[in-house]
């Protein structure tokens, strides 16, 4: 016993060091599963408040740019509304959630799969291997884990940690996340990020017979549990062929400018849970 205590005393520092390193490794490995800890993330209240303060300070410098982007987005939406004007949208629709309509005088049933809410970006990074964005909406506002986040111009990421008033979003600029995407002609593939820079994404799993040209747009497809379909991801800037697998590697210029994100939309897919349960139950068998 005496020897044991002497041993502990002699190597106390080493033991403490190894113990703390093991704690760190456990923390790291736990964040790689998605239900990791919310405390050590920027959704944490203290970090959130500090970021909020900083964002309040630098907020005014970006107002002009934001105005322009909002105007552009409005113009785009107007164009879309015009397109919808004379189309019977309900005719070939799939399952949809009925919207609650207070006004019963109108006998129109309205449907929506996706609910949008705005959020302000209070912290943003573009230079790590896994980039995170902190937004000022949390579980109080109805944000939950796994909600998609898009900007006016394209996709941004997915909510990973949530606290009462803040949430941190794993952006598309991350090795951990792949987004299913489609080309203009409907060919499906995946969009990943391989650290070529904050503007450049890569699309993989596209067969080489597919006809792609520079300047083509890439959109999200219907497969994703979180992202709404037909959101712009980027435009093709380079097409390479991977000899070994006979697949194309397509470099995209991201349509979202991750450097100056100010406002984003958090998207709640009302159908996500049901779809996920169904897919899980079939994959188990």
């Amino acid at each position: 016993m005496r020897n044991f205590i002497l041993f502990i005393r002699r190597f106390f520092n080493l033991i403490l060091f190894l113990g703390l390193e093991i704690v760190c490794v456990i923390l790291i490995s736990r964040t790689n599963t998605l239900q990791g800890n919310d405390i050590i993330s920027s959704a944490n209240t203290v970090a959130g408040i500090i970021y909020q303060k900083q964002s309040d300070l630098v907020y005014y410098f970006g107002l002009r740019k934001m105005n322009d982007s909002l105007l552009n987005e409005n113009a785009q939406l107007r164009k879309k509304i015009d397109l919808m004007h004379s189309v019977d949208t309900l005719k070939d629709s799939v399952v949809h959630v009925k919207l609650k309509e207070e006004d019963t005088t109108k006998h129109i049933v309205k449907y929506a799969d996706y609910m949008y809410m705005t959020a302000r970006v209070i912290n943003n990074s573009t230079n790590a291997s896994d980039n995170y964005i902190t937004i000022n909406r949390g579980s109080k506002d109805g944000v939950g884990k796994g909600f998609a986040v898009i900007s006016g111009t394209g996709i941004v990421g997915r909510v990973e940690h949530v606290s009462a008033r803040f949430a941190s979003v794993l952006s598309v600029l991350s090795a951990k996340q792949r987004v299913s995407a489609k080309l203009k002609n409907g060919t499906n593939g995946f969009v990943i990020w391989d650290e070529k820079g904050p503007d450049i994404l890569t699309m993989i799993d596209v067969s080489k017979d597919v006809n792609v040209k520079k300047g083509d747009s890439i959109f999200t497809n219907n497969f994703s549990l979180y992202f709404p379909p037909d959101i712009l991801i980027g435009t093709v800037i380079k097409i390479e062929e991977e000899k070994k697998k006979g697949m194309l590697i397509i470099s995209l210029l991201s349509s979202t400018n991750f450097h100056n994100l100010q406002y984003v939309y958090v998207v709640d897919n009302k159908m996500a849970l049901e779809k996920k349960q169904l897919e899980d139950s079939t994959s188990k068998k």
Binding site: L16, L20, L27, R30, G36, I40, I50, A128
Partner: protein, 181 residues
Amino acid sequence: MNVYIKNILRFCIIILLQVLILNKITLRWWSEPSHFPIFIPYVYLLFILLLPFETPVWALLIIGLALGLTVDTFMNTAGMHACATILVAYLRTNVLSALLPRNLSEYSGQHPSIKSMGWMPFLVYSGFLIILHHFVFFTIELWNFTNIGFLLLKILDSSVTSMLFIIVYLLLFTKQNTSRI
């Protein structure tokens, strides 16, 4: 000023400097080849480097954990910074005693600085620990050994840039001797 208050203040200043200012700076040495790594300078390690000489190792380890986890919280990297910082905190005493001519206990009341150690030993001391820290951190962060050249390049240019920032910090915040002989 009391040594504790001074260090707590320095902790807050360095964390805020790192999180609110330096984390927003994205650097890249060269923009032409598109695979050149981008990085941000990490100076928060300076807090560990500047603690007084006689700080015991267990205290260094606990402080390292606290510092690392604070940075992790802000950067969403749970545990990665803490892991690298603890390693540096553990090795600090050994590196110092290898570099300094006298025994560490003789330097009571001082902390490592250009003044107490001289330029060369201080640069070797901080340079070595920073390269070590960046090596561990980026290895854990990338965790992908298919592109070792990229990893090494990222470690190298990031640590050189961090060193430059640390030197600037020291030149700014070291008290100059006002009394001239």
